[in-house]
């Protein structure tokens, strides 16, 4: 059995922009995900970070086949799933589960906890009603909820408890892979820790593999083994977490890291930030060449705005980066920061 649980190659998702009087025709495309490749090994946690709109959630949904990717392939346990029919996909649905972002919106308010958690069991016909009930109670216990509460409605639970229900739902059919799409960003700080710990515990107990999507670099660092940074539908950097957090190569990663608030007054105040200019460009009409060049402090005209960089190993340990002029050292020196304005901006 291969070590790679999931292989993603050249994944693309373009949403059509349509226009029309009676019938719609496509006039443009939102390139939400535009060629992402990576692998996830068994038992590891791949963290995915990026600003909102960078395509990380879309990518997750493409992997889950909740939306159809425009191009690219996804292999799960060596089996390509991108071309599978809905029927053939059904058994695979048991292997991959997702924990969704909003614990309020992701639970159907009209359903009891029991049927929410047990839905997967029911759909895949795993047991009688009594067996399902037993399994649901077991799951509730595993995620730290009172098993007697299977009969309650989601609104009777707090946010953290609801997210536990979401985790229990994902665990119900013993999946191999769980994609966590910002599972803690809607939660209070104190509760966020509960869920993060729970996820970690479960991973140890059941040998789960996670793809963990978040915009909070602290959280991603805490939970991930490897981290992928996304920008405008592309993976710009992919490395083990220590490597990535201590030696970022991509200027965008550097800028993100420099902006993370640290609960330590001295460190926070002495820290030097890389400021980026302007807003993220529109994914309908992304910049030519390197997608980041419009905001990059190290932008070299004639290169970065022409050549599209490829995600490639740049250093030891499989540290991949898509940049023509990666950072040489981290943290950057004051001089480098001072000169961090783009050459053409001066």
């Amino acid at each position: 059995m291969s070590d790679d649980l999931l292989v993603v190659e050249g994944l693309k998702k373009h949403f059509p922009v349509t226009r029309g009087i009676v019938f719609q025709r496509q006039v443009a495309a939102v390139k939400a995900v535009d060629g992402v490749s990576f692998t996830v090994k068994r038992g590891e946690t791949l963290g995915v970070v990026g600003e909102s709109g960078c395509g990380k959630s879309t990518m997750a949904r493409c992997i889950m086949r909740l939306i159809e990717p425009t191009a690219g392939r996804v292999e799960f346990e060596g089996r390509e799933i991108t071309g599978l029919s809905r029927h053939d996909l059904r058994p695979l649905r048991r292997e991959m589960m997702m924990v969704l972002q909003d614990p309020y919106a992701s639970l159907n308010p009209r359903k009891r906890v029991g049927s929410i958690v047990g839905e997967a069991l029911e759909v895949h016909r795993l047991g009688t009603a009594a067996e399902i009930k037993k399994r649901v109670q077991e799951l509730l216990d595993i995620v730290g909820l009172n098993p007697e509460h299977y009969n309650r409605f989601p609104h009777e639970f707090s946010g953290g408890q609801r997210q536990r229900i979401g985790v229990a739902r994902a665990l119900a059919v013993n999946p191999k892979l769980i994609v966590c799409d910002e599972p803690v960003s809607a939660l209070d700080v104190s509760v966020q820790a509960q869920i993060l710990n729970l996820l970690k515990d479960l991973q140890q107990e059941f040998g789960l593999t996670y793809i963990f999507i978040a915009h909070d670099l602290n959280v991603v660092r805490h939970i991930s083994d490897r981290v992928m940074v996304m920008y405008l539908g592309h993976a710009v950097e992919l490395a083990g977490k220590e490597t990535l957090y201590h030696h970022p190569l991509h200027p965008y990663t550097g800028a993100l890291l420099s902006a993370v608030p640290v609960p330590n007054p001295e460190a926070a105040r002495s820290r030097q930030q890389i400021l980026l200019e302007g807003d993220v460009p529109s994914p309908i009409n992304p910049p030519s060449g390197c997608w980041f060049h419009t905001r990059c402090p190290r932008h070299h005209p004639g290169v970065c705005d022409v050549l599209e960089p490829q995600l490639a190993a740049r250093a030891v340990g499989g540290h991949e980066v898509a940049c023509h002029y990666p950072l040489e050292r981290w943290p950057m020196s004051a001089a480098e920061l001072a000169g961090s304005l783009r050459p053409d901006a001066a």
Binding site: E51, S158, Q192, N218, A259, P263, L276
Partner: protein, 340 residues
């Protein structure tokens, strides 16, 4: 004299389900040019505190007692016309969600000019000129063109800049910022914080910054107030708070934060959920979630008292000093997380 001195502020809302005591006996003060951070989870009463001071609660359902002296005048009892002349002028406010806090049907220029005209007797062109200045100051690129744009034409970060510009346009002495970065991504968040810091130096305003993010507090606050269950549970200077947090809730908060600067295998976690303000627990509000809870905690509400021998450091806890010191030590050694 403190610029803003809040004493025993209490706000109660009448709701269909009963009385919600959203703020209970909150006191703090802000010195001119200083930054006060108010930290707490959602529902801890930090936003209501701010709105109460500004007199922006719904008058039909909110009852407020206590005092909030601004430059010696009690904001809570002054006539509404006087309060209006202070609002937006001497005290300005920035709200959490820049997406909804700007009126979508007016250009940002219109909204800025309105803010000027409400408090200054200047001509249209002067007002517009100062709007343009302040937009430039908050770093809106091509401000002279974008001044006639509508809010929906700006990104979230830019809108928050506009909000800040609007708050600063009348050169306020005090800026109340209610989770100004909450709705923003990491990058724009850092930019906004930096901007606020820069502007504070430039304009000399005091800032009350409300946030749930200890990182943000560490970044720019001078003093910190930690709120839990509508009460202040700890009050300290920023260094004191992060160096010697003195009650279990603060420990929990600090410990539960995953940190980029050091690794922990397991985060500290505060069990349970924040209390309901409709029917809060007796005694110490935190006791149902506190692993140090003693029997006294269930019945007697601790006072906000000086902790750790510093006059500026107050906390609300029955724990003895020895236990606290032990815990703080663990925190310093970086093993804080594991113990809880």
């Amino acid at each position: 004299m403190a610029l803003l001195d809040v004493k025993d502020l209490r706000t109660t809302f009448r709701t269909d389900d009963g009385l919600v005591k959203a703020v209970e006996g909150v006191s703090f003060s802000v010195e001119p040019g200083q930054t006060l951070g108010i930290v707490g989870e959602s529902g801890s009463g930090k936003s209501v505190t701010c709105l109460t001071i500004m007199g922006l609660n719904d008058r039909r359902s909110a009852v407020t007692t206590g005092e909030a002296f601004f430059k010696g005048d009690d904001l809570l009892t002054m006539p509404s016309s006087k309060l209006r002349s202070i609002r937006g002028n001497e005290i300005a406010m920035i709200f959490q969600d820049p997406m909804t806090s700007l009126n979508p049907v007016h250009t940002i220029g219109w909204q800025l000019v309105e803010a000027v005209h409400l408090h200054q007797d200047v001509s249209r062109s002067q007002a517009r000129a100062s709007a343009l200045d302040v937009l430039k100051a908050v770093g809106i690129p091509r401000a002279d063109q974008r001044i006639d744009d509508y809010p929906h034409q700006f990104s979230g970060g830019m809108r928050q800049r506009v909000m800040i510009a609007m708050a600063l346009i009348n050169n306020p002495d005090l800026l109340l910022a209610d989770e100004p970065t909450n709705a923003l991504d990491v990058k724009p968040q850092a930019q906004i914080l930096k901007l606020m810091g820069t502007l504070q130096k430039e304009f000399g305003s005091a800032i009350v910054l409300i946030t749930h993010d200890l990182g943000v507090v560490a970044e720019i606050a001078d003093d910190v107030v930690v709120m839990y269950g509508a009460q202040v549970v700890e009050r300290a200077t920023v260094n004191e708070l992060f160096a010697r947090p003195s009650m279990p809730y603060t420990w929990g908060l600090l410990g539960s934060l995953p940190r980029i600067d050091h690794d922990v295998e397991r985060l500290a976690q505060i069990p349970g959920s924040p209390p309901s303000l409709l029917n809060p627990p007796t005694g110490c509000r935190f006791h149902p979630r506190c692993k140090y809870a003693m029997s006294i905690c269930q019945s007697v509400m601790p006072e906000l008292l000086a902790a750790g021998g510093s006059a500026t450091h107050l906390s609300r806890c029955h724990l003895d000093q020895a236990t606290r010191d032990a815990e703080i030590k663990k925190l310093e050694s970086g093993h804080f997380a594991e113990v809880t």
